[in-house]
Subunit: 692 residues, 2 copies
């Protein structure tokens, strides 16, 4: 028994609060047991720790409550120069200052630890205390304290969450909600551009930022400002985490600027998808481990392996998410769960959550899987839900998103003072700001130029500036950077990232929005009026204009989705009996629900109503004229009745619905003019008969 | 360094899953760090453990999904002999059997532990592994394995949750929802009887059960069947935990039996409140620790201390819950949060949660505080919410309740096979069934007799039988018994409790309901028709009948609540300007919102609509004729307009509302005939003018 020495632990990654965040601390146990004195003392300690933990969590709840009240006040007074997330950050900052400088907590015995020497680190340790065995579980590696001069070190450590909390509890609802509230119609029409920005753009941004940072780091080394190792992979990692832009703040900005919905979808879709790209990119960079002694040289096979990890994890997570979404759609379609909204919502929630677990259990990325699950659920399952479940599920995820979002931002503010291993380096910070600026520019401008070559609805240069400046860094960047703060390089990154988030949210998110709407607004509006008149002209027949906008792989997908997937998975869309070849008749009839014939048009319409967060009154409203059409469905129904005889399933659908006449942007572009028409429907199952 | 020996840990209380229930396991950390081989191994292990944890949690999610689908099938086919909680238990049972006997998991290195000797048990241990320090945290005491013969011991341990999860995560939403959906109008009118059953009854039941069990234990000792210590305090503890009846199953049973709403409120109110009594009672019994060597003798001062703990914790928790509820009411009244339902719901949710944390931080009982918070929120705050927030908050808590409830019950089924320290003793089991029967009888029959002496709306003997048999044991009993399973006595209790829950839910909750409705149903209906005709007679003036039903302390409370608290905390009720003395005029005007004048009657009406879980279509509907009155508010409004000149604020309110004419049971009984009338309202603030 050599090394039992008392020392105070200063843990680089703190993990006290998580236990209580979900409040599962190991409290008042074995109370009535035949206890000895030593047991009672342990219980007292555990109880004390539980009390302390509850109090800490209470601080956060109070912070959130305060934030909510202030948000209300701001909205009430129409005072909009600061986004609510910025507000949450400010409150967090204040609490951080108070905790650090204002309060003094006595150090208690809880924090005294014992050391004993061993020669490996198992996950569980049994400690023999005068004949009684106690189990201890591994928490992580502890490094030498740098915070001995900080007065409330222990207390500050306690209010710091386990970073995994962000990944496993707070991010999933945010990301799911982003996917679920994606403006799908416009999202799918601009899929090509969105994917370009999200993949090519984020990769470019990551590498440009990484290169600039590498230059900066080399410069710092030369002038002796670098306090530890900082490798090229670290630079790339930094590039990956600061390339993720935040979708929530994009929403807020686009409330102000009345830009074209397509451009809006572009921007929102990009910021949603680049989160997924950034998270997988960063783990691929981490997975880059060349063989041999020097682990920071170039190694082709390791690079290929990283690339493999990127592709494998991305496609795996995508498949998981889509599969769960499809399964939920099938379950909600073929059972009559809609009669019991509570059961339906519960099922919807559980299935969506199981995506996350499934992906994590298979070593994929749960957060990414949840994103694609959200998109799939919105595209298919949503159509099958009862009206009450629709609003229930939207409201539930809206609330979860709101709480998680504000929690993360107020926590960010708090961290600036409560985190004890900050490394602020002015050179690195200046370099980083330059790098993210260049990285974002290298993402937006060249890509927009290339995309404009193929796009009919051009991305105007003013809008490119908006995209450039509204690339706020938010929850994802923070979560990625706090995930590991063990080394010098990571601490430097974390502190710098925090400043970047503060700056972009307060300056870009707050002050720039009114400014941009003043300067760019007029131009954007003009641009918008030009682009939107040809898209959303009141003449119903102009919808054909949009069909050339997408490249053929996407158009192929639309056709397939509209003719086969939607009818198969939902009650909406044209009945499968009319889209599948005649030989599949029995199967088609089996898979098509009776509602599909009746609801074909109507449900499609509901579908388009799931646009953004329609729970909030301040949100950017849809610019199509669909609501006008709703007002007079009967008067125009006859106008196009001749179209019912056409072979075009889309035209026919317009007649059925009766409400979709002037919805030119309502549907994926009609594939008929550029593609062979789908096989004509067998006359026996003509849906027109079902209507009469 | 003496005692580093390898051994397999078998932990009496397992705690692996909690970490991942909320998924905060210590996964892939410090990946890009300058890692050594030992680090990589630790990470692999942690990652592996994270994967395993996700998979385990997935099992539960799948179980819940399956349960939901089956519940739907049962509801769809109108197949009701088994309550949904019983279903969840059956599925859990199957999964438990499969995990125990069907699957074989290889033992991995994760489970190997090291032992080193020390002379105290700190909460944190630092382990020095070849120069690197790893932190370990205390998990609890480990006792010698009894499960070496169980094949998948480690895996089974992993699917076992930390009992604190039940108390800190799963119970609060269930209990809050019970409080929030309490049928308040009828609850408050029967407050006296409900409190008698909940306090006197539960105490009686606890002591009777304890005494019977003590007899049983003594008998077992004599015949040599007792395998360990079992003291009288253990018997009392057992009595306390099995005295908590489950409110959820009560709801289901009362769907079938069309009994009087008052009697229903009695039953539901009792089962909600006795949960609170049982939880505090059990911790008071645990707190009974006589001084001296023999800790199981009688000691007057220790008994007094226990009594003090009981009263202190109960009143403290009550005060916390009520205070938070009142604060939320004030915030929602005096801000215009209603314009932003999302913010309002978030605030509501956070404030309710903070009650739990506040109570825990002050060493009170969070679960009990949450119950009273729920009741207060429903009674006051609910009136201030916007229509959307009303439905949002109801739906949110309904969903949380549903998920938590079914999780607990399916977990119960699983535990029967996954828990490794079961002690089944036929003598003890038979004794326990006898004891709970006698305990429940000693609660219901004598008390009902005494209460009937004072009650106008008698509790019929048939109904007493129903109360006797519908005392199902559920989530609370289970959570209390699993909280500590370290000693022989507690393991014996836990196993027996599990059987009691199974029996009561399946037999009493399932089969007995149709039986009871056949046998008792007719009588109950007659009884009901008698009791309800005099209460809900169509003549509006018969409402005066109900005023004598309650004892004076409760009537005093109604008057105070109706005249001062409701107007102060909500927009409803008579304006304070009319109830407060004239000298308080300025304050009264300041505290009375303009809506109070306008909405006085209407909001009251909404208030009464929060009855039971109105989300479910199967629920027991209100039996008053309020809906009829809604249909023709104008035709009858004039009928009673002469009452507007009366000094009685209640009568006047009837005229204002216009919809509450024939709502005799809508209001607390009019206090005027037995009490001095409240001061007449100053004529300048006569609310009638505001209406015109």
């Amino acid at each position: 028994m050599t090394g039992c020495q008392r020392r105070r632990a200063s843990v680089s990654r703190a993990f006290m609060l998580p236990h209580l965040l979900c409040l599962m601390c190991f409290a008042v146990i074995s109370l009535a047991e035949n206890t000895e004195m030593v047991n009672v003392v342990t219980e007292r300690k555990a109880e004390e720790s539980h009390r302390q933990d509850s109090a800490n969590l209470l601080i956060f709840i109070m912070l959130l409550t305060l934030t909510i009240l202030t948000i209300w006040l701001f909205k009430h007074r129409r005072f909009r120069f600061l986004h609510e997330t910025g507000l949450a950050m400010i409150y967090g900052l204040f609490v951080g200052i108070i905790l650090r400088f204002g309060v003094h907590f006595p150090q208690d015995l809880n924090d005294v630890t014992l050391t004993c020497a061993m020669n490996s680190s198992p996950t569980t340790v049994l400690v023999n205390v005068s004949g009684r065995f106690y189990e201890y579980s591994l928490k992580g590696e502890v490094r030498d304290s740098k915070g001995h001069d900080v007065p409330n070190a222990e207390m500050l450590r306690k209010v710091t969450f386990d970073p995994e909390v962000f990944f496993n509890i707070l991010l999933p609802p945010i990301i799911f909600h982003a996917g679920y509230s994606l403006k799908r119609r416009h999202f799918f029409r601009n899929l090509g551009s969105i994917l370009s920005y999200a993949f090519v753009g984020t990769l470019t941004s990551c590498f440009v930022t990484g290169l600039v940072m590498y230059g900066c780091v080399v410069f710092m080394k030369v002038i002796g400002q670098l306090g530890g190792d900082f490798f090229f992979t670290d630079c790339l990692f930094f590039g990956a985490i600061v390339s993720a832009t935040d979708p929530v703040t994009v929403l807020a900005i686009f409330n102000e600027l009345k830009v074209d919905v397509d451009l809006y979808a572009l921007m929102f879709g990009e910021s949603v998808l680049n989160d997924a790209v950034a998270i997988i990119l960063s783990s691929s960079i981490v997975a880059y481990q060349p063989e041999g002694d020097n682990r920071h040289t170039f190694d082709g096979s390791a690079l290929l392996k990283s690339l493999g990890v990127f592709l494998g994890v991305f496609s795996g997570s995508f498949a998981m998410g889509a599969a769960t979404g499809v399964m939920t759609a099938l379950v909600t379609k073929f059972t009559k769960l809609r009669d019991f909204p509570l059961l339906e919502t519960a099922l919807f929630f559980l299935m969506s959550w199981s995506t996350f677990l499934l992906a994590e259990a298979c070593s994929f990325t749960g957060v990414v899987a949840v994103l694609f699950c959200g998109i799939t659920q919105a595209h298919y399952t949503y159509n099958n839900l009862s009206a009450e479940s629709k609003s229930r599920s939207k409201q539930l995820f809206e609330l979860l998103d709101f709480l998680a979002e504000n929690f993360i931002f107020s926590y960010m503010g708090l961290t600036l003072f409560s985190f004890q291993h900050h490394v602020f380096n002015p050179f690195f910070i200046i370099g980083a700001f330059l790098a993210i600026f260049l990285g974002r520019a290298a993402n937006i401008y060249p890509l927009s130029f290339l995309l404009n070559l193929g796009r009919k609805n051009k991305i105007a240069s003013n809008f490119q500036h908006v995209m450039m400046f509204s690339g706020l860094r938010g929850a994802m960047t923070f979560a990625l950077s706090i995930r590991d703060t063990a080394t010098y390089a990571r601490q430097l990154m974390f502190s710098t990232t925090l400043l970047i988030v503060f700056f972009t949210v307060w300056v870009c998110g707050g002050g720039t929005t009114p400014m941009l709407s003043l300067i760019v607004g007029v131009d954007t509006d003009q641009d918008n009026s030009v682009s939107s008149t040809h898209v959303t002209a009141p003449d119903g027949m102009t919808q054909r204009n949009t069909k050339h906008e997408s490249a053929w792989p996407f158009r192929l997908w639309y056709t397939f989705d509209h003719n086969y997937l939607k009818p198969f998975l939902t009650h909406s869309g044209p009945p499968l009996t009319s889209t599948l070849p005649a030989c599949c008749g029995p199967i088609a009839r089996c898979l098509t629900s009776s509602q599909a014939y009746e609801n074909a048009g109507q449900l499609h319409d509901e579908d388009t109503e799931l646009i953004l967060n329609d729970g909030s009154s301040l949100m950017y409203s849809d610019m199509t004229v669909s609501t006008d059409a709703h007002g007079m469905p009967t008067s125009q129904a006859g106008l196009y009745s001749l179209a019912g005889t056409s072979d075009d399933p889309l035209d026919r659908e317009i007649v059925f619905g009766g409400t979709r006449l002037v919805l030119p942007t309502d549907e994926p572009p009609d594939p008929l003019t550029s593609f062979p028409p789908p096989p004509p429907s067998p006359p026996l199952s003509d849906p027109l008969r079902h209507r009469v």
